[in-house]
Symmetry: C2
Subunit: 355 residues, 2 copies
């Protein structure tokens, strides 16, 4: 038994893994990410330029396994990183790669100014990320509730129907169909639009308070029926900030990874991405970490317990707007994916800024 070693190792706090162990763990993660195969001691001794023999490396690997950073798929098959191993790698060992210039070029070209609709640019972003990272991509569009409003207009469709159109500071347009219980003239609608814009413009729906609503009710008293519908609608948008439209890209990439050759696993993931409200919330709700890495069971959804998800926030006019995410196996190339995501998020913000 490796008691003399293991006892010591267990006392380590994770962040204090000894330099050599860190080196070895990092090499194992990167080798495994690159090849998909379990990593054996011989190969590792060759890769880690420390002049160590396989036997020594084996001892270190045994320690790392005992501390929970590695696991063996079966006896004598080499080691693979455990979820904890990936976590330690991501937190302490990973060195984010630099995004090569030609990739930046692709991003720039792809998010050109000639794209003129938010829908198109979000879809394009999803596809772009899919191509650049080789992982499946989910992108949350900006929500009406979280955005600063510039205008609110009610535009007639016919005498029974109209659309409520909200233009945000980023130039995104949100619209909702509303019924006109009593027909209103163009002038009346324009007047209502003006009042709505005057009182709601410059703030986000999520921040609209009682007093503003009261002001609206007073100013638009003659149009109580319509106002009721409109306010309820806007209120819903303000209260449910976590319901963005999700754009998918590179779905096929999911299947490219050996981990998802079992169709059942892949199906679970795809269902979750399509349906799960938790995931939608996770991507649509303003929240702290600019870059969030969830590994395996850290994910909010069970179906993703074999996946990692990296998401980064993007902004519109400096305000939080949504998250871009990629989903892949836990054996993910974190060091490359993170900077690519960040670069795309930046360019997307740029697109909104100079829309």
């Amino acid at each position: 038994m490796a008691n003399s070693r293991s006892v010591r190792v267990v006392n380590f706090s994770p962040a204090e893994l000894d330099e050599r162990k860190r080196l070895i763990l990092r090499a194992i993660v990167e080798e495994h990410v690159a090849t998909g195969q379990p990593v054996g001691s011989r190969l590792l001794a060759r890769v880690v330029a420390l002049g160590l023999s396989p036997a020594t490396v084996r001892n270190e690997m045994a320690d790392l396994e005992e501390s929970g950073y590695l696991e063996s798929p079966h006896h004598s098959a080499g080691r693979i990183p455990s979820q904890l191993g990936y976590r330690f790698y991501v937190d302490h060992l990973m060195q984010p790669a630099q995004v090569p210039f030609d990739l930046l070029e692709v991003i720039r070209e792809s998010l050109e100014l000639k794209t003129r609709t938010v829908e198109a640019v979000m879809q394009q972003t999803a596809h772009l990320l899919g191509r650049l990272t080789n992982y499946m991509t989910v992108v949350a569009g900006p929500t009406a509730g979280a955005s600063v409003l510039r205008r609110i207009d009610i535009l007639p469709v016919d005498d029974r129907r109209a659309v409520l159109v909200a233009v945000t500071g980023g130039g995104a347009v949100h619209d909702w169909a509303i019924d006109l219980s009593t027909p209103l003239s163009d002038e009346e609608l324009r007047y209502i639009s003006e009042v709505l814009t005057r009182l709601l413009g410059g703030r986000a729906l999520a921040d609209v308070g009682r007093t503003v609503l009261q002001g609206l009710e007073d100013a638009l008293a003659p149009y109580r029926d319509l106002l009721h519908v409109v306010l309820e609608l806007l209120h819903d948008q303000g209260q449910a900030p976590g319901e963005p439209h999700l754009y998918q890209g590179g779905v096929a990439n999911l299947l490219a990874h050996q981990e998802f050759h079992d169709p059942r696993l892949a199906m679970d993931v795809l269902w979750a991405v399509e349906q799960s409200p938790e995931l939608r919330q996770e991507l649509g709700q303003a929240g702290e970490p600019l870059v969030r890495i969830r590994i395996g069971t850290e994910n909010v959804v069970d179906a993703l317990s074999h996946c990692s998800m990296i998401s980064v926030s993007y902004t519109v006019n400096g305000e939080w707007a949504g998250r871009l995410a990629i989903i892949g196996p836990t054996r993910m190339d974190y060091a490359h994916a993170v900077p690519v995501l960040q670069a795309v998020a930046e360019h997307l913000a740029g697109w909104f800024g100079r829309i």
Copy 2:
């Protein structure tokens, strides 16, 4: 050799397959669709209530194979329908199933009036179809170019930017960001919007002719710069009618079918659905058959040569608007899928009508 038989059979024109052969072909298709297994003569003799012995059925099957309606995966494995077999089945043998009442109920509930945005209702439709048919679904949203316009407004975002908003007869809202090279006042923008609405309202962009454009140029001469941008934009929309936004649903369903357990096949399909301009066109371009069934290599895209795609048109206010499609293996339950698609298309039209 079965010469005496085969010579005669070859002379049949497809539509004139003898009654018994039709019965057998139909049984084979339906049995194979249900089980996924090749169909053998013994089973078939039991299923087709003709009191025929397996040996007789074998002879008929040999004829059908020779005429190209069946094929054998390998010697002594039973028969499966060929692409031609499915085609004949779809054209002459299939009896569309009736949509059960509770399914209709699900459709009704799902496409309720409380859904207020076109984006949401299209996405919902895609998901719904995915659930109801167990096939992957692609849905083309209505395009700006093909829709009858009700209003065109230019709404300011800030003094350098604005959005062009087009409201269609179905209540769909399309928007594009535009730069204001010279700042314009709200009044000016409103005036421009009025002129645009007056001259373009009531017709589809695709139908706008030279004279109307000339009229615009005259009426809005002072705003040449802006008008140039706007007209180019509207012109593009009118000229490129086949570029709808595609909504996917039930992607996981693709993997549920044994035919796509090979991840490479599934990947090809997913890439095609995401990227192929041909497919986008196929679904976004007004075109004849209300129900279109493409089997195997009949598909416009190579990647779908192992798939069948059923698409149906839907309308908005009676005008052609887009297609709903499902994609699955050629071994598809055509008889059930077609009526479900039709029912959903009808309800979708209903949603737009009473939006």
